[in-house]
Amino acid sequence: MRIQCPCCGERSLDEFTYYGDASVTRPNAFAPTAMSDYHAYVYQRDNRDGDHRELWYHAAGCHACLVVTRNVRSHIISDVRIAREVARERDAAALPGSTS
């Protein structure tokens, strides 16, 4: 598999480290429901067919975390974005303080 890194161009899979599901957001540690929120955040994953949003870290390249949209059946990657940009949009869209 090859990933189109927005910084480095198309690179082979062995330059990257998988960092998990990009569709979960770290919950507020002080919310009354924190324990169950964190349980879901750490352990519960959907294993659906089709497109998954995944975090890949370009360890042997630019060190950027990437959000990769990959079809788990065909392995076709339809989108790659710099994770920091995605995360900033995520945080901007969320209520203040929800991720810290």
């Binding site: 090859r2 960092y19 770290r26 360890a59 392995h75 994770a83 991720t99």
Partner: protein
Amino acid sequence: MRRQSNRLGEGGIIDRSKPVTFTFDGAPYQGYQGDTLASALLANGVTLVGRSFKYHRPRGVLSAGSEEPNALVELRSENYREANTKATMVELFDGLSASSQNRWPSLRLDFMSINSLLSPIFVAGFYYKTFMWPAALWEKLYEPAIRRAAGLGRAAQGEDPDHYEKATAHCDVLVVGGGAAGLNAALNAARSGARVILADENAQLGGRALDDGLPIDGAPPVQWIDSVREQLEREPNVVVMRRTTVFGVYDTGTYGALERVSDHLAQAKHGFPRQRLWRIIAKRTILATGATERPIVFGGNDRPGVMLASAFRTYLNRYGVAPGRRIVVFTNNDSGALTAAEAALAGLEVVAIVDSRRGLSAEISKAASTAGTRMISGGVVIDTVGKAKLSGVVIRTGEGEDVRLSCDCLVMSGGWNPNLQLTTHLGGKPTWNDAIAAFVPGTHPPGMSVAGAAGGSFGLKDALDEGAKAGSEAVASLGWKVAGPASPRADNQPYGIRPLWLVEASKSKALVDFQNDVTAADIALAAREGFQSVEHLKRYTTLGMATDQGRTSNVNALAIMAKATDRSIPETGMTVARPPYSPVAIGALAGHHRGKSFKAVRRPPSYAWAKANGGVFVETGLWLRPAYFPKSDERDWFETVCREVKTVRSAVGVCDVSTLGKVDVQGKDAGEFLDKIYMNGLKTLPIGKARYGGMLREDGIFMDDGTIARLGEHHYFVTTTTANAVKAFQHMEFCAQWLWPSLDVQLISATEQWAQYAVAGPKSRDLLRKIIDPEFDISDEAFPYLQVGKITVCGGIKGRLFRLSFSGERAYEIAVPARYGDALMRALMDAGQEFGVCPYGAEALAVMRIEKGHISGPELNGNTTPRDVGLGDMIAKKKDFIGRVLGERPGIIDPDRPSLIGFRPVDKNMRMRSGAHIVPLSAPATAANDQGYLTSVAYSPTVGDWIALGLLKRGPERIGEKVRAVDPVRNEEYVVEVVNPCFVDPEGEKLRG
């Protein structure tokens, strides 16, 4: 040496001016440059080349290509020995030595052929049914006996002396297969200027076009093939890779290929690998892998002398070899005509053409009359005659009459299977084409197109035209300008196949899978016993599971199963091909990554000094760290390590700690960031101070620890453990980029930028005073425990000083840029002479940390929490940090969890060993009574006794209690006392000075 009795007087593209000598089973033979081992053996009249896997039936050469199931030989000798090599793919070289396999005592006289008589026992699935009782005999008797009898070649016993390498290539268009379609595809693609790679598994390009000898542009095909090869090899944008098998298709246009660089040589040239594993990245791929001819399933079809018709033509046309002199052709399609005509042209006697189709084919009858041969229409071969060599065949004519004909070669054509394996590697399903009675590629992998016989177009003209079209379209789709497709002139041959899957009138064994000895009867048995799905059929009978991957057998088996279960072939299904298409040596997959080259070696800055001073090294991850520095009069490592520990505790020692991970953390929010990733507070750390820090996983488990030094308002310097350096840094990057993207923090790994030495012992400050430039005050008032500062050493070299202690002594870590590391080590050792300095290694370091009760890898083992290792008080109460929430789960904070404590043996002479489990004194040593285990054990020269750290249920509450340490692995058991885990200076007076 014998004459090459079956070599034709002329023809073939071998070099008759270059004779080559070789041996087979010790006997010398001669062939020519350009021969394969198979063609040379046939030229010498050697028809018996092996014994079959299960029944030890005599076997000859079936094919002329990589689909060969029978002619497997051992090549070379001793550690160069290579088993299960296809004689049809082995290029002959001078001095080649080959031997047959799976026979004893000799190929001609094989005692194991008695298995043939026992064949009722060895039916499909026999190992599930027979030899079952009594069960005790299986391991001792049955299995070893079966294994001895059933086998392929012998693997070499020693290390492979050859070299292998790996390489990556990029191209616009990859053409797989260099036959008519592939050559024309490459030529049409290359004219655009696009980068083209053409890979073919054979030494010579041309594929079946070369084998069949049909004219291209009105001339022998070799002329067109040579001219295309020359054109391609001239083009700077084209790479022609011969002897290269593309064996696998992977995601995103990635292809695996194996180049046999030196297999055709007696020994690899100096500096060259034996084989090279390629990763080819292609934007477009054209599959032009051709097709493989099917055998016909009839009684005795595996007798030496029975051969595929296509292989027969290959031996005639390519090698000038007649596999026999009296030929019978058995066919279910029009290609039989071509075969008969070629045989007649070569001056061989064509005894008969047996055409299973009823009604006269115009092609066949023309060929029969030209060759002056007997035509048996609607007939089948029901059996073969002979022992280890064919002497005749029994034919049942269309009228039901049995006729015996004498012959020494039977050539058969059951039709053709496209070589579509590469289209299925990513999950593509082949589809059935009734017109050609074969599976053809269904969905293709992204970017792949198929041309010629690989797609089911078996005619030469079609192959050339489809190749041209595929080549032009591939480059055009990438935006290259290209003229319309161009092809030379050629004709298609009639095919007219009418399937004949099984000659049901046969009484004797009719082989389907030659290599695994699976017969038509085995398939019928599998059908009767309910193993009707193709996947069950395969596993029950082992069909298609041999090294040839069932290339000559899968479709025949499927068709027989379809008939037996009254289903159509597509209903019966098709097994999915997985990489590799043909076997790949493990050595090639490993490449240079074996032995000492398996991983990179990292050497710390003092490596050269340590090496020169007798350091003994230990591998820690990739690092080579000095373990200890023996003196010439010391008897063993134990004495050395004790001396190093005593020197540190009484004088001063120096240890290279550069291998610790180091991360430079800067930015306005650096403190805030560190507060989130460490369990304890760091934002409040004053500038110029260092603090221990513990890093948790989000599930509350301890991940890593180290020290955090604050060098400036917005500047921290963090160390991690050696083992977790990479993981911890990546974790920090992940946190900064994904969890808290808006924090102003920048990270960089500085592990390799700094040489860092621990200088430990009561005289450490005295030593450093001589190294650090005088303007820096390192008195205890100015530089107390946990102080950090920038310094210069040895007259102006910038460095850093940290007052940290892992040993428990007054100690410092001094750091300089890595390029000064070697010089600083020498300077420290010189300056330390008067204080009795010694270097110490990882062993003494470990002994001293156990003496101090400090945790390390054995305690931070991925199962422990901060509370488990006695650091519960460090956990911050108010802030958020990774691991905060889940670290408070009931199971994580359960006080019954094993926690860190010390142990000493009650019998002072008893040596403890880590890994021993702890049970109460009076309870039996069962898992139910298991209360913990010893994690780290050392002999403490300071205490004068063995000491241990361990994890014990409610450990800290049990000081003074005696428990049993049980070590079932080493069969040891002894009583230990639970003690405080800090064995030396528990008040910490020494480290503060």
